[in-house]
Amino acid sequence: MRIELEKRPDVSRLFSILSPFIALLLTLVCGAVMFMMLGKNPVAALYGFFVEPLMEVWSLHELAVKAAPLILIAVGLSVCYRSNNWNIGAEGQFIMGAIAGSILPVMFHEWNSPFVLPLMMLFGMLGGALFAGIPAFLKAHLNTNEILTSLMLVYVAQLFLDWLVRGPWRNPGGLNFPETRTFEASAILPEMIASGRTHWGFGFAILAAILIWFMMRYTLKGFEITVLGQSERAGRFAGFSSRKMIWFSMLLSGALAGLAGISEVSGAMQQLRPVISPGYGFTAIIVAFLGRLNPLGIVVAGLVLALTYLGGEAVQVSLEISDKVTRVFQGLLLFFVLSCDTLIHYRIRLVASKLAGSATAAATTDGAR
């Protein structure tokens, strides 16, 4: 038996909407099997993983805190991926944004002023954008593959942060722990809602999603992004420059990842540590695809992926399941999202192999039509 694809004359609207949900369902089924193999009750484990974290106010706040960076980064990545620029180094841009944004609260901590926070956010965006500017420059002017350079720079950013918090930026009054001084009150991103920890980073994420959605749908820039992504040649005829698009998409996604970085540090951690992200920059790639590269879809997808972090922590405590299942769930989800996307453009048919006789093959063909 083999699989045959038949191109649909048009994109299937039904499957465009359904495919992320089918992918989620398949991931849950796979997850249930995995939990059974680990010797746990699959219903209880799935309930603990995906439902229980949604039952309490404080954990809903945690969900928003974790979703904020994922959405911010993924919205930027969606612009990159739509224009066929494969920035996969958002993790590094997140870190450099966090570092640049922390210059004021760490080095000039005596300065308390209402200007501090806005400046920190601005620095964060600049830091992320400049760091994304390296692969952008290399791709636009030196023809270097952006996938590899942006990824290599993640390791460089991680090492740079490690050096800062163990070396020049280490808290002088901090018993030699590798961390910076705690931020002053004026440098802490305030909470959005009185009932819990959700900080303004979540607000930035929603705002960014709406703005980018508007840009993609109603502006010439959005059209330019789509055209250049689908056919660089067609874009050139329309007078669009793919070189400028490399710069635009990479700087935009870098700035959003940098904003995510400084928001996370200022809103949730209030200091820099050697590790400030549980892989948000990589998980955001999954968020972008699960949201079908649509900013509004990405908001929902960001909440789903944030849930996998919370669920992983929850079942680790309650059922003694390794927190590694989070990564496995995330990986599975991306696999299923990508395979379900095939349904949008193709009809899939299982064709019996030649040995099995032509009668069955004919039957399947007729059935599909």
Binding site: N145, T149, L151, L159, G167, I285, L334, F335, L338, T342
Partner: protein
């Protein structure tokens, strides 16, 4: 053993896994498929090889487990990108994320356990040659395999009929299809060869380089292997040169750290990654040569018409 010999030996050990993984990816890319999941397949190989060795007590069974796990895992990539024509870049990233997660679960119970190092195979007489004997004829099985792989891949790609077919699939799948070559099957085999090599490279890490299991122990070597393929312009011999160059850079920074020269260790640790970027720039800034060397159908999906 002199210091010079010792350093060269560590360079070889550091270069071997990257060379093996890159050779596999080179064959995959020559067939027109870009598998960015090398890091994921490599780390799976490392975990499976280590666990199999601990369970059976034989590192040779560990090697087999590493190869098998890499090849099986790559089938998943093949199914998505070849049978379902999913986006190759995104699927490769999914391989890396899933590989890191699954390998973490497989190896979790074995963290911190002392491993069994792959024994050396000494060639009598040849091993007595000064310097060279120690470097080339007193090594472990995976090193010998890596040499055999380089020669084998070079011969296969440029001297065998099957290799010619594989290259034609990578340069123009439509023409190859019209000539009656089974494009999808060729690509499946090339992807699995790449997976098996990545698995073997992972096994080298957990059985030779540092005989233990540490989560995420590949530390970007899979990505460096990908860069190496570009650096080598898809040619096996250049790939070996680049691989040993990388080994030399990563070992010299370790020695510099050990000697305690005045540069912070983090900056030295960043050197292999920065060197990779520098080399990529050097090799790709000339658009024309890049265009000539790259397999023309690389990364492009193929749907056979009926």
């Amino acid at each position: 053993m002199g210091i010079f010999e010792a350093i060269l030996l560590t360079v070889i050990t550091a270069a071997t896994p990257v060379v093996i993984a890159a050779l596999g990816e080179l064959v995959t890319e020559r067939s027109g498929v870009l598998n960015l999941g090398v890091e994921g397949m490599m780390v799976m190989g490392a975990a499976c090889a280590f666990v199999a060795t601990q369970v059976t007590g034989s590192p040779y069974i560990g090697i087999l487990a590493g190869i098998a796990s890499g090849a099986l895992f790559s089938l998943l990539f093949g199914f998505l990108t070849l049978s379902l024509v999913a986006n190759q870049v995104a699927t490769g990233l999914a391989m890396t994320i899933l590989g890191l997660g699954v390998s973490g679960m497989i190896g979790e119970a074995y963290v911190g356990q002392p491993g069994i190092k792959l024994p050396q195979i000494v060639f009598p007489l040849l091993a007595d040659i000064p310097v060279l004997g120690r470097l080339l004829f007193q090594q472990d099985l995976i090193f010998y395999l890596s040499i055999a792989l380089v020669v084998g891949v070079q011969w296969f790609l440029f001297r065998s009929r099957a290799g010619l077919k594989l290259r034609s699939v990578g340069d123009s799948h439509s023409s190859a299809h019209a000539l009656g070559i089974n494009v999808i099957r060729t690509r499946y085999l090339a992807v699995m060869f790449g997976g098996a090599c990545a698995g073997l490279a992972g096994a080298q890490l957990s059985l030779v380089y540092t005989p233990q299991w540490v989560e995420n122990m590949t530390a970007g070597r899979g990505w460096i292997a990908l860069a190496l393929v570009v650096f080598a312009s898809w040619r096996p011999w250049r790939l070996v040169a680049g691989g040993y160059l990388f080994g030399a850079v990563s070992i010299s920074q370790l020695h510099a750290q050990a000697f305690g020269i005045g540069i912070p260790s983090q900056f030295l640790s960043a050197l292999p990654y920065l060197a990779t970027i520098a080399v990529l720039i050097l090799i790709s800034h000339n658009r024309r040569t890049t265009l000539i060397n790259t397999p023309a159908a690389l990364g492009k999906p193929f749907v056979p018409d009926r």
